[in-house]
Amino acid sequence: MPTNRQRLIIKTAVLTLMAAGAIAGAAGLAVLYGGWYNIGATAQHYAFIYTVLEEGMKQSVRNHADDIKAPRLGDPAQLQLGARVYRDKCLQCHGGPGVAQSTIGMSMQPIPGPLVDATQRWEPNELYWVTKHGIKMSGMPAWEYHLSEEELWAVTAFVTVLPSMDTRSFKAAVAPGEAP
C-alpha cells in the first residue's frame, strides 16, 4: 500500500506531465495554425535545421542504396548517352563546370548542389538511387518512371566523370544534338 505521501508525489507528477503535454500541444497548434513560420524560399533555414535534415537525407540514402550493386560504368557510348540525359534532365537545376543552371534551379531551397563534387559525397549506387527515387521535400524529382534503367546508369556514369571535365569539354559533351 503506498503511503499518502507517495500517492501525492505520483499524483503531482502525473498532473504536471499532463499539464506540460497540454501546453506543448497548444503551443504546437498555435505555431501550425498561426502561420508565423515563414515558408518562403527567400528566408533561409536555421543552420541546425539544415544540418539535421541534410544528415538525415544522407543516412537514408546510404541505407536504401546499400543493396544496389553498380554495374561497370564508363564506356564511351554510355557516357555519351549519360551526357544527353544530363543535358536534358539535370543541367537546368544543377548546372555544370562553367555552365550556370537556369533560374529555376538558382532560387530553390534547399539549393540543388553542383554535381562536380558528387563523387566525394556519394558512391555510384547512391547516385543511382537518388536519381531513380528523388528526394522528398527537396525538389529533386524521381526519374524511375521517366528514364530507362540504361539511362539511369548512364547519367550516373556521366556524373562520376564530371570532376575530370573542364568548362570546354563539359560544354562539348552537353552541346545541343539528338535527344536520348
Binding site: T42, H45, E54, G95, A100, I111, D117, D166
Partner: protein, 117 residues
C-alpha cells in the same frame, strides 16, 4: 560606472544590428545576403552567415574584406568584385564559375555583404 557600462552595451548592440560598411563600399548588405542565396552562390561557396552544405567547389567567401586581389588579376575593391560576380570570364576566361546573369544592383548588394563580413 553603470552609465558607462550601459553606454558600451548600447554601442556594441548598435554595432551588431546595423551593418557597418567599410569605407567606399555602397549598397544594401541585408538585401545582398538574400540575393546571394537567390543566385545559388551557396551551392558552390561557403558564405559566412548563410546555412548550407560543406562545399568547396568554389573558394569559401569568408573574410572577403581582407583580400587584396581577386583571381590573381584584379584589385579586390567593390568595382572589381562586382565585375567578377557579373562576368567572371572577363577576368579569368578559364574559370569554372559560370556567368549567372547577376544584375548590377544585385551584384552591388552582394559585394556590400561580402566586403563587410
Amino acid at each position: 560606472m553603470r552609465v558607462v557600462a550601459m553606454a558600451m552595451l548600447a554601442a556594441s548592440l548598435a554595432a551588431c544590428t546595423s551593418e557597418r560598411l567599410p569605407g567606399g563600399v555602397v549598397g544594401d548588405p541585408v538585401r545582398g545576403k538574400i540575393a546571394l542565396t537567390q543566385y545559388a552562390c551557396q551551392s558552390c561557396h561557403l558564405i559566412p552567415g548563410v546555412p548550407g552544405s560543406k562545399v568547396y567547389v568554389g573558394r569559401p567567401l569568408s573574410e572577403m574584406g581582407q583580400r587584396k586581389v581577386l583571381a590573381g588579376a584584379v584589385p579586390n575593391d567593390q568595382a572589381g568584385l562586382m565585375r567578377w560576380i557579373r562576368d567572371p570570364q572577363s577576368i579569368d576566361p578559364h574559370t569554372a564559375m559560370p556567368n549567372l546573369g547577376v544584375t548590377e544592383r544585385d551584384a552591388r548588394d552582394m559585394s556590400a555583404y561580402l566586403l563587410s563580413h
